[in-house]
Subunit: 455 residues, 2 copies
């Protein structure tokens, strides 16, 4: 059989030990903070029934679902005439019952509905698992990638939004990444559309406002006119486009402009409550800015909208979330509202790499390697190795007794092992072994019996 050079499917990745150490650092940091705030982990199967997934992500999303071919004779129920139109989505649905998870939100909604009788609400869950999308792979976009979601469902309290700000602040403080949390509220956007009488132009308006910094007020107004806003509407929008100052100042302006919209005022009050509460509890170490151009998940979010941007590197949004009204309605369980966030692990990984922010100890695997000159020396090393491991120190001995020194030291270097204990005949005789610090190059003799105390 001809052997093909093995490869992996496009858009997927292998993770080497160093990459895994970095990824584990990211996931563990996020997990620890989620747990600190009372969120509990769940996991759902990689495969869901296609009936659970289809129709939840729009037509485009349906196309991007990876479908799993039914086992056995997958055509047994398919009539010949169904095969005449080629490999259509319709035929795919006839030969595939299952698909791979596209995100963590729909499986979570399915989970809450299925287990409603076992769950106690409010239910605070986090979930860190891979998702799959048959997207065209490109830089930073993969067909298999991890999402790190936390949601609390069954609670309308704005305290949850306050804590989400605190969690974001804590996570990025631990990472050492300088970020700004951008906040908006869907009700404010709805209020703006309401006072203008132009709900259908909501997205156009936010896009135009977003360009103010780059193209200036005249060009923004021109663009709004092209989108169909009349002079009166554009005039009404001016204080919103020009919105500046502190969060408190922005809130005051918004209250004024949106006074005629009950929904708009409600949105301003929610935002005000959250910001004031965060402030009262000591504030965040990162910036916390009102940003009306934030329009993510407009079909989905009904209250607060969050987005996080890294300030010291170009990298779009690295975390996002918001409040929704009806998570599980599509599965026949109405009235479940909630609020959630999702940390973008792959982008955070890139930011940490760019800024070189990984704490050294998180990248260390083995702490000590015993390098020995032969079988007797290896035998001498083994009880010392056992002592170190018993003390919880990650340690190993080069397994081939008597391998060349260069090879053994190369192994230590490749694994970035910080300490090497060298054992030759002299060391065996005197009981004093050589301890080499592989970073500084420093080498000392230490008493073999006291080796545990060195680490």
């Amino acid at each position: 059989m001809a052997q093909v050079k093995p490869s992996i499917p496009k858009g997927t990745r292998d993770f080497s030990p160093v990459e895994m150490a970095k990824r584990n650092y990211i996931f563990n940091t996020i997990k620890d903070v989620y747990a600190l705030f009372g969120y509990q982990q769940i996991e759902t199967p990689s495969m869901e029934n296609l009936s659970t997934l289809m129709g939840k992500y729009g037509e485009e999303g349906d196309k991007l679902l990876f479908k799993i071919l039914d086992s056995g004779n997958f055509l047994s129920d398919v009539k010949p005439e169904e095969l005449t139109e080629g490999g259509t989505p319709k035929l795919a649905a006839r030969i595939c019952e299952k698909g791979l998870r596209y995100d963590l939100t729909v499986p979570f909604a399915r989970f809450v509905t299925m287990h409603r009788d076992e769950l106690t609400f409010p239910f605070k869950r986090y979930q860190i698992q891979p998702v799959w999308r048959a997207d065209r792979p490109q830089k930073g976009r993969y067909r298999e990638f991890f999402q790190c979601d936390a949601d609390v469902v069954g609670s309308d309290s704005l305290l949850n939004e306050v804590e989400i700000c605190q969690m974001i602040d804590e996570v990025f403080h631990r990472f050492g990444i300088n970020v700004a949390i951008k906040m908006n509220n869907r009700k404010i956007l709805a209020g703006i559309a309401e006072i203008l009488g132009a709900p259908e132009l909501l997205v156009d308006i936010t896009v135009a406002i977003d360009k103010f910094d780059k193209i200036g007020i005249d060009n923004v107004n021109k663009e709004l006119a092209e989108k169909g806003l009349n002079e009166a509407q554009i005039a009404q929008l001016q204080p919103i486009i020009l919105l500046q100052g502190s969060n408190v100042e922005k809130l005051a302006t918004l209250k004024n402009v949106l006074a005629a919209s009950e929904t708009g005022v409600k949105g301003v009050e929610e935002l005000e409550y959250i910001l004031a509460k965060v402030e009262k509890l000591g504030g965040t170490r990162c910036q916390l800015d009102i940003d009306l151009t934030l329009a993510r998940g407009l079909n989905y979010y009904t209250g607060a909208i969050f987005e996080v941007k890294a300030l010291d590197t170009e990298m779009g949004s690295i975390t996002g979330g918001g409040r929704y009204d009806n998570l599980t309605g599509v599965f026949g369980m109405p009235g479940v509202s909630g609020v959630g966030i999702s940390f973008g692990a792959d982008r955070i990984y890139d930011v940490l790499n760019t800024l070189n922010l990984y704490p050294t100890e998180t990248l260390q695997s083995t702490q000590v390697l015993f390098v020995t000159f032969g079988q007797d020396e290896q035998d001498f090393a083994l009880p010392l190795l056992a002592q170190l491991r018993k003390a919880g120190i990650r340690a190993e001995v080069y397994p081939e007794a008597g391998a060349k020194m260069k090879k053994q030291m190369g192994y230590a270097n490749a694994k970035q092992i910080p300490y090497v204990v060298i054992i030759g005949s002299e060391e065996m005789e005197t009981g004093m072994v050589s301890l080499k610090n592989m970073i500084t190059g420093e080498q000392n003799k230490i008493n073999a019996n006291e080796i545990v105390n060195q680490f």
Copy 2:
């Protein structure tokens, strides 16, 4: 649209917070021990090219692979005449380029081959990821389950086998599960077949020997005769079937019986070396037994064979492994030998459940809940909550201020939160809050300012 009660594909599972806590305890224990011995984590994609997977698990295995339907028009290259034979494996291969990982060994072999130039050998890796098999689901057998593998490749040293015994011992010691490690060596089995001149009967022989305890020597001999062994062969086998005593005694008998087989003697010597070395390094806390009936992976393993059985509950093998000669040959990279083990996480989970061996603290998520009687009380609680979290204590406040006491306490019970801090108007006035131990029911007043010191 009619709403169907949502479900998950058969053979798959949701994991609730409690189940996740238990599973994380298992995975983390195994990870810690692997790392202690110098193994480093890698991960590979869930999907592999079917060209990587097919033909590696036998014909039956090929059928059990979950195949992923190609995106877009999956029939575009398929001619009408190819559709006339129904949903055959051949047609499946034409419309599916990718499949889900069936185990961790083949992806690891693919990984080693692909990354050979970046890796330093010996390469000690561990990998804990789900695998998928389109098996008929039944009790204890799932279509998605986790494997926990560690392998060292590129080292012939028997020290690796010694350390595998130590790792198994350490893992089950940490779990508190009473186990026996069973060891065999493929070369001993080959030696037995060699001296009998009946290599094709190897499996029949081990199966018959295995029945000795249950059916007695006469019935075993009868069965061997039925399988085609002649009287002389059966006579030669007697010391092996009746093999008893300590490991040292068994080794002596085997050396004697297998003296004429170079391979057999080599196998005995390997086993002897491993057992002696383990003993010299302090031995294992668990039993370590030679067991010639151990015949797992006969098509695969070439040296040591390991299997672990739980002693206090009925549960087949819960861990297994062995040495192999040629991991990556099928991918065009010859000469890579190694040895590995795999912990059966699902079975270990069942054993820990049956014996109720989970340490309490591993199942605890939130440590403290603040229960408050209204908005003012919640506001009073929030800075205390922040103090606890700052000290690393997992804590939360019931988010709906003024929810019924019963509801809040029910929340604490459902989440098995061990401590509740109760705050009413009296507590706010005096600054002395009520701390209730939810396990003992004991309740004390403590100074709110000293709350952190309580935990």
